[in-house]
Symmetry: C2
Subunit: 443 residues, 2 copies
C-alpha cells in the first residue's frame, strides 16, 4: 500500500459553504492526520463556489482556498480532482455535477432530491466517463447505509427495508408522544430549535424521506423507481389522540419509508413469479419492542432484512454539520484511495425500471379510528362495514363521547388497502362517520 | 463500469466446508445473478480443502469444485484468485494464509483468533505483496462493522466503541434475565440449542469477544493492541441475583467489549497530552434506555462514538451459516471489483503499538454487591471502607437475610478500579464480608 505514499494531495472544488461545507472544512483541518494515515494523501480545498463573495462568514476560509461565484472555476480547473456538491436544489446542482463529470472530475454530493428525481442521467454519465459519483451523506446523514447496501450487503438479496429517514418528522412525533404536544405546537418547537425549516413542507409532508427512499430502492434492488410514482403521505396534522391510542395498543407512530419485494405466486411455467416492489412513505404503527420504535428525536434509523444477513439495524444522526460532513469526507477518502467506481452498486449502465405493486393491493394490518354518534347499533354497523370487505378486527377500544363524537379505534388483521378504503367508504356512505376516518398501517 | 463486463470468473479456493463454507456455497448458487449484476463477474469455487475426503456431507459439492486434503492445492494453483479461510484455529490457518499471500492470492477469512493473536505479520505480508486481506465475517457476523470503521467512518476520529460481540454470552444473559434461570441452566440450554460449544470457554470466559475487540481497536485507532495485554473477564458463574438487583436500578447486565481513548491533561509544551486506550472485555451494567440494553438472544451490536458522526449503532446476527457466509461473500465481491487493498484501514505497513491505560486507572461508576452479617453497624463499616477510598455512593439496596447473609447492593459515583478494589480489600480485611464481593462497571 506504499503506492499511495508519494501521491499528490487530493484537490477539492467545494460547491456551497454553508453548514455542511463549513463542517467539511473544519473536519479536513481537525482530522488531517487521520486522513493522511488512512489514505496516504493530503486533501485540500482549492476553490469554493458561493453566491456572494462579500457575505460575512462564521467559518474561516481554509488555507489555500479561494472563493468564486463561477461554477466553471470548479468543473473546468484541471488542478481539481473532485467536486463536492453541497448547494442543494435540482437545477444548478444538476448542471454543476453534469459538467464536472463531463470534465472528468469525480463527484461527491449530499443531494438526495437531485439523485432521486434526476439521478438516472448522472449515474449514466458517470458510468460512461468512468468516474466516481458518491452520495453517502444524502441518506440518513452519518448512518452508513449507502455503503452498507452497496458493499457490505452486496451478496444479499434484500427482502425488505424500512427506515426513519426524516429527523424533523421524527422529532415532532417524539415530542408529541413524550410530552403530549399537538402537532402544531411540536412543529413550532422544531422550527424554534432549527430542526424544521420556515416552510416545513419537504420534511413533514414526506418528500424528503421519499427522496431518500428512492435512493435506497435503487441500491437495494438495482432498479429505478420513478419518484413521481412513489406513494407519499407525511405527518402533517397527525392527531395527538392517535398517538395516545396507538400507545394503548403498545405501538409508536413513526414516519416510515419502506420497500419490500412481493413475489407473485409461481405459475406453471416459472418456478417463481416476477418480483414487484411495494414502496412508499407513510406514518405507521411500530410495536414498542422493535428497535425502530426506540428511535427518538432527530435520529435516523434503517432496518434491512436480507436473505443471508437476516435483520440488520443501523441508527445514528440523520443531519447536522459534522455528521453529514463526516459522510462526505468518507466519500472523499474513497476517491483518494482511487476505488473503482461503484456508483449504483450495479455494473449495468442502465438500470431497469421497477415493477410496482399498486398501493391498493398492499397488504397490511391497520389501525383505524372513526368518530361516531353515541347511539345504539353504531358499533354493529361499523363492524358490518369491515366484515363486508372481509376485514377481521383483532382489537378495539371505545372511549366516551368527546364532543366530536365517540372515538372507536380498531386494530385489524391483515387486509388490503383497497378493502380498508372500501370499508370506510361504506361507513361514510351509511352516514356513520362524524368526521373522516383516520387509518394507518401497522408494521 | 463496463470494464468488468467481459472479465473472467473469480475463482475461489475454499478452506473448510462446515457450516459457513456450506452457507457460502449455497449463497453463491442462490445469489449468482446478484453477484453478476453487482460485480460483472461470475464466481466459482474451484477447490475445497477438507480434512476427510470420505466424510458424508449435507451440502452438495458445488459444480466444478473438487475436494482436496492438500492446502497447497489451493495456495499454489495459478487458476485460483482468492483463498477463503474458514478452517479456524491458529496454526494451520496461519500457514495457509501466509502461503496464499506469498503466492499472490487475495485472502478472505473469518478467523478472529488468528487475526487478533498473530494478525500483524499477515497484514504486513499482504501489504508487501499488494494483496487484499479481508475479514468482515470475523467480527459480529453479518453486522458490517469492519467496513464501517475502515471506510464509512474513515474521516472520523473514534472516541469510543462498545459492543456486544459474543452471541453465546448474550443469549445466556438474556435467558437469565427474562426467565430467571441460573447460569448453569442457561448455559446448558445454550448448548442444547447449538449456541454454545461443549467446551464453552472461548465464549463465556470472554476470549471470543476479546479477539473481536482487538480487531476493532486496530480498525478504529490504527494500532496494535497486544492480545495478551487485554483485560478480559467473562460471564462464567454470574449470579442471577445480580441480574435481578441491576434490574431494580434500571439496568441490564451485558458482556461488553469496550475501547475508548483517554487524553491525558495537556502539559506546558503540548496542547494536548498523548492518547492512551482503555480497552477490555467485561460484564457491565447498561441502562435499559440504551439501545445496547435491548440487544437480546444471540444478536450482536456495536455502538461507535466518533468526532464527526456522533453516536452510531449497528445491530444484527453475530453468527450462523448464512449471516456469516453473506459477510464472506461481500468480501469476495470487493475482491471481484478489484478494490485497492485497504486491509487495516491505514496505509502504514507497520502499525504502532497502542499506549495502554492500566486497568487500575480506569474510571467508572460501579455496581457492588457484598454479603454481610445482619448486625448493627455493618452498613456503617462497609460505607466507611468506601469513603476511606474516596468512593461516593449514589444508590443502595439492602435486602433481608438470605441465609448466606444480607446482600447490600451499591451503585457508586465515578471512581477508579483501584479505589474500588482497595475499598473491598479493606472490607475483607475488616472481616465484614461473608463471601467475596461482586462488582461490575456501569456504562
Amino acid at each position: 500500500m506504499s503506492t499511495f505514499a508519494e501521491r499528490k494531495p487530493l484537490t477539492i472544488g467545494l460547491a456551497g459553504f454553508g453548514t455542511v461545507g463549513g463542517g467539511l472544512a473544519r473536519l479536513l483541518e481537525e482530522n488531517a492526520d487521520l486522513v493522511r494515515r488512512r489514505t496516504g494523501r493530503d486533501m485540500c480545498i482549492r476553490r469554493i463556489l458561493v453566491r456572494d463573495l462579500e457575505k460575512a462568514r462564521q467559518i474561516p476560509l481554509p488555507a489555500g482556498a479561494e472563493l468564486t461565484t463561477d461554477p466553471v472555476a470548479l468543473t473546468d480547473d484541471p488542478d481539481i480532482d473532485v467536486v463536492v456538491e453541497l448547494i442543494g436544489g435540482i437545477d444548478h446542482a444538476r448542471v454543476l455535477i453534469d459538467r464536472a463529470l463531463e470534465q472528468g472530475k469525480h463527484v461527491v454530493t449530499a443531494n438526495k432530491a437531485l439523485l432521486a428525481e434526476e439521478g438516472l442521467a448522472l449515474f449514466q454519465k458517470a458510468a460512461r466517463k468512468g468516474r466516481i459519483l458518491r452520495y453517502e451523506a444524502s441518506v440518513a446523514g452519518a448512518v452508513p447505509v449507502v455503503e452498507a447496501l452497496k458493499e457490505s450487503l452486496a451478496g444479499n438479496r434484500v427482502t425488505s427495508l424500512m427506515g426513519i429517514l426524516n429527523g424533523t418528522s421524527n422529532y415532532i412525533l417524539s415530542e408529541m408522544g413524550s410530552n403530549g404536544l399537538d402537532f402544531d405546537v411540536a412543529l413550532k418547537q422544531a422550527q424554534e430549535k432549527g430542526y424544521a425549516e420556515a416552510d416545513p413542507t419537504l420534511d413533514i409532508d414526506g418528500f424528503d424521506a421519499a427522496h431518500k427512499l428512492i435512493l435506497l430502492v435503487r441500491l437495494a434492488y438495482g432498479v429505478n423507481y420513478p419518484y413521481a410514482a412513489l406513494p407519499v403521505r407525511g405527518i402533517r396534522g397527525l392527531a395527538a389522540q392517535d398517538i395516545g391510542f396507538a400507545r394503548e395498543f403498545g405501538y409508536r407512530i413513526k414516519l416510515i419509508g419502506q420497500v419490500r419485494e412481493v413475489r407473485s405466486p409461481a405459475g406453471e411455467d416459472c418456478p417463481e413469479g416476477p418480483v414487484r416492489l411495494e414502496a412508499g412513505v407513510f406514518p405507521a404503527l411500530v410495536h414498542h419492542t422493535y428497535l425502530l420504535a426506540r428511535v427518538g428525536g432527530v435520529y435516523n434509523a434503517v432496518r434491512v432484512e436480507a436473505n443471508a444477513a437476516g435483520a440488520l439495524f443501523f441508527h445514528g444522526r440523520g443531519a447536522g454539520d459534522l455528521p453529514t460532513a463526516g459522510a462526505v469526507l468518507a466519500d472523499l477518502m474513497a476517491v483518494a484511495r482511487e476505488e473503482m467506481p461503484n456508483n449504483t452498486g450495479y455494473v449495468e449502465e442502465d438500470l431497469p425500471t421497477a415493477a410496482i405493486v399498486p398501493p391498493e393491493e398492499w397488504r397490511s394490518c391497520y389501525y383505524v379510528r372513526v368518530m361516531v354518534e353515541d347511539a345504539p347499533g353504531v358499533l354493529r354497523d361499523i363492524s358490518g362495514c369491515m366484515a363486508a370487505e372481509g376485514i377481521s378486527v383483532a382489537q378495539m377500544i371505545q372511549k366516551a363521547d368527546e364532543g366530536a363524537g365517540v372515538p372507536l379505534v380498531f386494530m385489524t388483521h391483515e387486509t388490503t388497502a383497497k378493502a380498508m378504503s372500501d370499508a370506510l367508504q361504506r361507513a361514510e356512505a351509511a352516514g356513520l362517520l362524524r368526521e373522516p376516518a383516520v387509518y394507518y398501517r401497522v408494521l
